[in-house]
Amino acid sequence: MTGRFNILLTFVALCVSSVLFWILCLEKADSGPYLDSAHGNAAYGVNRSSTATIGYTKGHCGHCHEQHASIGGSEPVPVTGYASPYMTFSDNFVSQSQNFCIDCHTGMGSVQVSFDRINYNYSYWFGGDTANHTTPNNIYDAFNPVAGSAHNLQDILNFVKAKWPETFRNESNPCSACHNPHLSQRGYPVVRPTDRDNVWGDGQGEMMSDFAFARAGQYQAPFRYNSTTVYEPDGSATADGSNLPDYVTFCSDCHNATNVIYSSSLGRNLKQIDWTQQARTYGLVGDYHGAVTRCWGTDGMVDATCGTDPANWGSIKEPYLSANKPNYILSCTDCHEPHGSVHGIGSTEPYLLRKTVNGHYNRQCAGGPGNPCSWEQEFCRSCHVHNRHCGGAGACLNCHHHNSYARCFACTYCPEGGVHGHAF
């Protein structure tokens, strides 16, 4: 009996092992970093027209890489007449408007067969404004707005080559400063320049909630477009940033308190940004929208930390008003488009500012009697109620910008910061 039991047990163990082995092997063949990426997705991955015609399946390496710059004795479309660095089918980067990535991620003339998902901007996909952001509908247009602002790709390449020469070279593509084409996923598109082998924002410690918590702050997600009940980025009721990648840490790999980044678009160095600075001190790079605690309550009235003052500088709007968190820390993407943005009407602000912020489409000011405004004012009014102003009611962004420290409201209302404080 014992012998038969042992035989049966052995048989069962073998069967279970075989099934497990089959499952594991099957899983290994059908998943992995590249196969999990957007480009490597079997349903909607890369699919160049000329190589799809040859018979390469979606996601195939051969759609982007030409091992010999020749298939069947000739170069597949697009024909360049030579082999390109990294064996891509065209040169990695030539200019803002000519780029290997843009050969597919463009409108008319794309070499990709079709797009399962249109490359609308952040305000569309994560802001939820599908009504007002049907253009730009591709990456090329986002980086090359007719009237707007965008990340300057040459500036990016210049910076990352100098900053991380072991990773980025002359032949590198500036898009890869933020993305890894073999790893980036739809839900987790970014890869830090300092960690090329992992997507960012898909794991513990990589969410906005984590960033805020680590700096004695709180993240509050803005509303989705035309809603007061659901929030960015996914239209759910989750608002604490646990479902949003920590874009601050990501963006701060470049845009931080120490890096000097020259902008050829602006003709100057960019303002330095320190979202982690908690001290409200003149001369220190820091932001109220970052870890610097605000001076007064969400209702614009006095706050015990800043002393007393009957003045009402203006409340902040929902959802921030009712959430009433002590120290809001925003995500970069709450205000900025990552690729490029179209100017607001009457505006020429070159800062990639979103047109739909906190559920409000503010491409132009409301106008009308008693409401003279600028687009910048409308932008800020997405979250703020503007009651008083110690200076002239001019363009908001002249004073209110990263690393600004205007005098007026700092001298009396924020004594801990010394004579001066921060205006942003």
Partner: protein
């Protein structure tokens, strides 16, 4: 060698010698044992290398008059008939058949009489195909397609332009052991000779280019100097390597050909150099396409061949995806600077080569690749790529 007769002869001579000396039978038996031992040693010393040489009766391969009982003895392969047909014209060197005819089987057998490797089967050889693959897949027969193999003369018709010349062809390249390749591609690919791969490519005639090699052939390893056709890897003149005893009819991580490679594309005795004698612009050797055509590791313009893993990512092999390829894989094999037929470890010194991705003759797959590059399943289509490019797994 007739071993039984030899033993009897030795015993006989020993017996005669001892009988005359008046020794006892026990002495005779001792002498017999000694002679057997001597015979065994001779066998070990001389028998093994001779396995590589052609064996069997001369008439297995040659015919004196191409006529016997009024019938032609020559047989040549007909792509039309997908088999051997009688040939009234005599062949050079009194051969019964051409290369194709001898290395052909009408069924699926891939090692036939006299230990002859088969490179063309009339039926799908499947897993029995040898290391170079099988021209079944590129033949004019029912299983064939141009894009699955080299289109060899008399196996399949010449392709039309631009595939009537080797992709990446570079004129007048330096050949191993001296000489230069053709100044232009003016002929369909042949098995050997100037427009072929095997034999001395400095000799135009196919048969003359391999003269004597079959009879002098030795089983070589990477120590062979490859100064002759017969002691070159697979009769590829000037190319070194270690020949698997059954041409990889059975192959595994510890049983395979040993391919010669160079860590920095400098040598002319590698298997990749052989390929690039015709596909010159795909190899970075200065005699061939050079770095201008192929690039270098910072960055490559075309996929490298004859480049060791230790040179990747700015000499950061340990931090590269290739460090995870550690066990020899017959799907995407590697070359070595001193290869053997049992190398099982892949490390920083292992070398990517043309045959890491392609078969030499033909394969069941697109562009003679070693795996199904056009599979509908993406994981299958990229399965070979991912052997080396492990971070894409």
């Amino acid at each position: 060698m007739n071993n039984e007769k030899f033993i009897t002869f030795i015993e006989f001579t020993g017996f005669i010698a001892l009988k005359k000396s008046g020794k006892s039978k026990s002495s005779i038996y001792s002498l017999n044992a000694f002679c057997c031992l001597l015979y065994a040693l001779c066998f070990l010393l001389f028998a093994m290398p001779s396995e590589a040489k052609v064996t069997g009766a001369c008439s297995d391969c040659h015919t004196m008059h191409n006529s016997q009982r009024g019938q032609a003895m020559a047989r040549d392969y007909s792509s039309t008939d997908a088999g051997l047909v009688e040939d009234a014209s005599p062949n050079p060197a009194l051969l019964i058949s051409s290369c194709i005819g001898c290395h052909f089987d009408s069924g699926t057998t891939t090692i036939i009489a006299n230990n002859t490797p088969v490179v063309l089967n009339a039926q799908d050889p499947g897993s029995s195909a040898l290391a170079g693959g099988n021209f079944y897949y590129s033949s004019a027969g029912p299983g064939g397609a141009y894009d699955k193999g080299h289109n060899v003369k008399n196996i399949s018709p010449q392709e039309s332009s631009p595939m009537d010349a080797p992709p990446g062809f570079k004129a007048g390249v330096e050949l191993p052991n001296g000489g230069t390749g053709p100044a232009s591609w003016a002929s369909q690919l042949t098995c050997a000779g100037t427009y072929g791969c095997h034999g001395n490519r400095g000799i135009a005639d196919e048969v003359k280019s391999v003269f004597g090699a079959h009879h002098q052939n030795v089983d070589i390893d990477s120590s062979s100097d490859a100064y002759k056709v017969y002691n070159s890897y697979r009769f590829l003149y000037g190319i070194r390597g270690a020949e698997d005893i059954d041409w990889e009819k059975t192959a595994s991580g510890i049983d395979h050909n040993g391919y010669q490679g160079d860590s920095l594309y400098g040598s002319t005795n590698t298997i990749s150099y052989l390929c690039s004698e015709c596909h010159g612009n795909y190899h970075a050797n200065t005699n061939l396409g050079g770095s201008g055509s192929v690039g270098d590791s910072t960055p490559w313009l075309r996929h490298p061949a004859d480049f060791a893993f230790n040179g990747v990512r700015g000499n950061n092999y340990a931090g590269s995806e290739y460090a995870s390829y550690t066990t020899y894989n017959v799907i995407a094999p590697v070359a070595e600077s001193s290869p053997t037929t049992s190398d099982s470890v892949v490390n920083s010194g292992s070398i990517v080569m043309c045959l890491s991705c392609h078969r030499a003759h033909a394969s069941p797959y697109f562009k003679m690749l070693r795996w199904d590059y056009k599979a509908g399943s993406l994981g299958t289509a990229l399965s070979g790529c991912m052997v080396c490019h492990t971070s894409k797994n």
